[in-house]
Symmetry: C2
Subunit: 500 residues, 2 copies
């Protein structure tokens, strides 16, 4: 019923995933009772429409041979995924609860278990494994040992024949990165031209992709907006499974779930996926599972503020950063420029037990004096400092760091002692020692945070904010930024107000 199944299964059909066999236990019961009250579509026909090979087993309660036969037939179809619809009775054998929602979410209970055993002619005590069953499973284990030894043989031959490829494969299985994987990540000086951090992200992806064959991913129909194409590879398509650019279509939820699958498969693959930041909502259930399941998926989320402009409030994230920072075990990084984007990728690629979400600008941002890739790993650092104890600390993230730098210059010209802290990641900052944290954000110094998003949560670090407490608006990006107060004048005014 869930839409995500439609997204993922349509892609499975498109890709012709012949090794995928789904057994659909069609027992006609969900929590509310018979599925007839909400679900009367023709599922087999729908899966045929997706391009699947579809079979039905009419009596899944007793026709085990029929199920086995259908699985064999599904294996024989190698250019399409297979659905086997198996009609069963939920709670089969229970005299009083079979075919009811009562057995969907609750246990039968001791009395009904007893009646069911009697009804099915099962004479054994609980936890007794009859000889016949034991033998059956022992045979399966023996068969497995045979398969394993066969595989080991094959692998040994392969290893001898292709030592380089074998070493790479083994590296992947160990989850190790090659020593020089990040050697080509670029660094920048203020003389380098202003670029969008999404563009820096594209450069990073293409700097590491040739050294990391395990990097695979793509966008939900926004490839040339998210800038996520790997130039060193073709498109992952039916029959072209060696390629690494995945076109997910407009299917954000399916995209993130597929990336979870790739990350948790223990094959060493590093999946990334992409859409606009505001559409994080569309994949949020799978993103939560990335965090909960420790899946090292990299979320490349561009167009990260009202500065994206004309598309208006439906496309402009405002509450999105806060809602993401609230998720346990999710790393959110909003880099300020080219160096910080390189630093963000250094962190994201190395964190294999944690998803990382990159919030990237659509618009150009300058390369900042003092910005640092290495400091991204610390979450926050002093970008511009003053002599002695500051009167005020301006904390910026992403595209607002350069605004903080300019405002600090004006404030300094007016005799204020101002420090600028760039804070690409709250979560990474929280990992630091209390000493480091106090060195960047000493207590007793007033702090003003500047971020083109809601202030929700910022009270943890700041006494006041330049922020947005409503949905955005449709206008050119620079007009939006100005109208919402992301100007040097307004930051200076807010700073002076805070200083009293």
């Amino acid at each position: 019923m869930e839409g995500i199944s439609g997204e993922a299964c349509s892609l499975a059909g498109h890709w012709g995933l012949g090794k995928l066999i789904a057994l659909y236990d069609d027992n006609h019961i969900s929590i509310d009772g018979s599925t007839d009250i909400a679900f009367t579509e023709d599922v087999c026909k729908r899966f045929e429409a997706y391009g699947w090979h579809v079979q039905q087993v009419a009596d899944g309660n007793t026709d085990l041979a029929g199920i086995a036969k259908a699985i064999e037939a599904a294996k024989a179809v190698t250019d399409k995924p297979s659905l086997i619809k198996i009609t069963t009775t939920i709670g089969y054998g229970s005299p009083n609860k079979a075919n009811t929602a009562g057995v969907h979410g609750a246990a039968l209970g001791p009395e009904e278990v007893k009646l069911t055993r009697e009804n099915l002619g099962w004479p054994y005590e609980p936890f007794v494994v009859p000889e016949e069953v034991l033998n059956h499973f022992r045979k399966a284990v023996e068969r497995g040992a045979g398969y394993e030894s066969e595989w080991n043989q094959t692998w040994a031959t392969y290893r001898q024949k292709y030592p380089e490829e074998a070493a790479e494969f083994e590296r992947l299985l160990r989850g190790e990165l090659p020593a020089d994987w990040d050697a080509n990540l670029p660094s920048y000086t203020p003389e380098d031209k202003a670029m969008a951090t999404r563009k820096h992200s594209e450069i990073c992806l293409n700097a590491i992709a040739p050294k990391l064959p395990e990097l695979i991913g793509g966008s939900a129909d926004l490839t040339h907006s998210n800038l996520t194409e790997l130039k060193c590879s073709g498109d992952f398509q039916k029959g072209q499974y060696q390629n690494r650019n995945i076109h997910f279509g407009v299917r954000e939820h399916g995209m993130a779930a597929i990336c979870n699958g790739i990350a948790l498969h223990n094959s060493g693959l590093i999946p990334y996926c992409a859409t606009f930041l505001v559409f994080a909502d569309y994949l949020r259930p799978a993103l939560r599972l990335s965090a909960l399941s420790q899946a090292g998926v990299i979320y490349v989320m561009t167009h990260d503020s009202i500065a994206l402009g004309e598309d208006g409030p439906t496309h402009q994230p405002v509450e999105t950063l806060a809602s993401l920072r609230a998720i346990p075990n999710l790393l959110v990084i909003r880099p300020a420029d080219g160096n910080e984007t390189s630093g963000a990728y250094q962190v994201a690629i190395q964190r294999r037990k944690q998803p990382t979400l990159l919030a990237l600008t659509r618009q150009n941002v300058p390369n900042l004096a003092g910005s640092s890739a290495a400091n991204v790993a610390k979450g926050a650092y002093t970008l511009v400092d003053c002599q002695g104890t500051p009167d005020l600390i301006l904390i910026g993230t992403g595209s607002e760091v350069s605004l903080c730098v300019k405002a600090a210059e004006v404030l300094a010209a007016n005799g204020k002692k101002v420090r600028v802290v760039s804070m690409p990641s709250w979560e990474l900052f929280e990992e630091q020692s209390p000493e480091y944290k106090a060195s960047v954000l000493p207590t007793g110094v007033k702090r003003l945070a500047v971020e083109a998003a809601t202030s929700f949560g910022w009270c943890r670090y700041a006494d006041a904010t330049v922020s947005i407490e409503r949905f955005g608006a449709s206008a050119p990006g620079n007009v939006c930024m100005e109208k919402f107060g992301f100007t040097v004048d307004n930051v200076v005014a807010k700073a002076n107000a805070l200083l009293g």
Copy 2:
């Protein structure tokens, strides 16, 4: 491609919505280029599988008569929704951009517009409306006037024949509530037995439903967990459209989107929908649109904390409340007991330009001395006070308010002056006057917030929290609560630590 279309269209087929006609502009282009790179399913077959009536128009560029004929045929089918797949060329007529993604998200530009006009033989200047077109639209307007006068005639007759029903219908169109709509909302005293707030919610829904025929809704396959059934009505099903209990199936996203449609239809209907609180993620894109579009949908979200127990971290909201409070124009209410649940419904039903989300417990909570339905509208209020200026304010929400009351008793017995504030809604509290806010939460008094959720955002109101900074765990609900520190002892310890 998006899963939500599958959810909604499967329901439309199930319900046999014969008045729904969808024109599918099949131009084979999405932002990334040809849809062939990600979308090769048989859409017509999929919609047939959903139970739709399906037609195709092969040449939507020029065959206008074919489109008109298909629409007439679709109208004639009254027991099924209709899909008309119309194959077109995107940017039809443009010599250089037709049939490319270049015309999906960008304008043609003046030069290409000129070429397109020439190519299509359109001799008029921009913004000139030729006589023929003007006449065509004038005829349509005249036809519309005829239809309107016909309708007014019908309505006048109906009004005369059924004055009571007509008055009710006109009330709905005016968006007014009947004077005594909330007369049967219950109130409670501490002597009344402890109940889950989801149970209180069920009582509220059934207390107002007979007086509010416009109340319509249901659950995403959790009816008997969310407790959202209206006893005064049957199930909304094919041919039984007079009924008000909707079974959405396991389709949270489609459910919320359908409720947005109902709320924005200006028919006066008040939609509600329901699932577990943690699954707010699954409908979040539609919930954001409720807030952005000012749709007065009521979200009945039960099982609102780790106290739900065994289902474990996949089902236990931790970051969910924070992520919802961050959304502009969304009202989040977490009532503490029966009175506050009645108060929550009073607010939710009356707010027709704003969605309201109710966070409700699975577990029983006591009815509190001093709790008040009316005070819910203030967002926060003093539930238990001390003599003079408090040393400490304990702020609780929902199921943790009773814990605060007990902890306050222990602290008071140890000579501390403690106030307990029940804070069912941050957003409603923020609407109050500065004087009221200062009277409930005076500055200079230490505050400890207690909520079985992340502390994210609580720094706005509290100096410290008893909260959860990780995903939950699978154990009986009371064990979870104890292990995560939601005990009188721990609250008292944290309070004493805060008081130094």
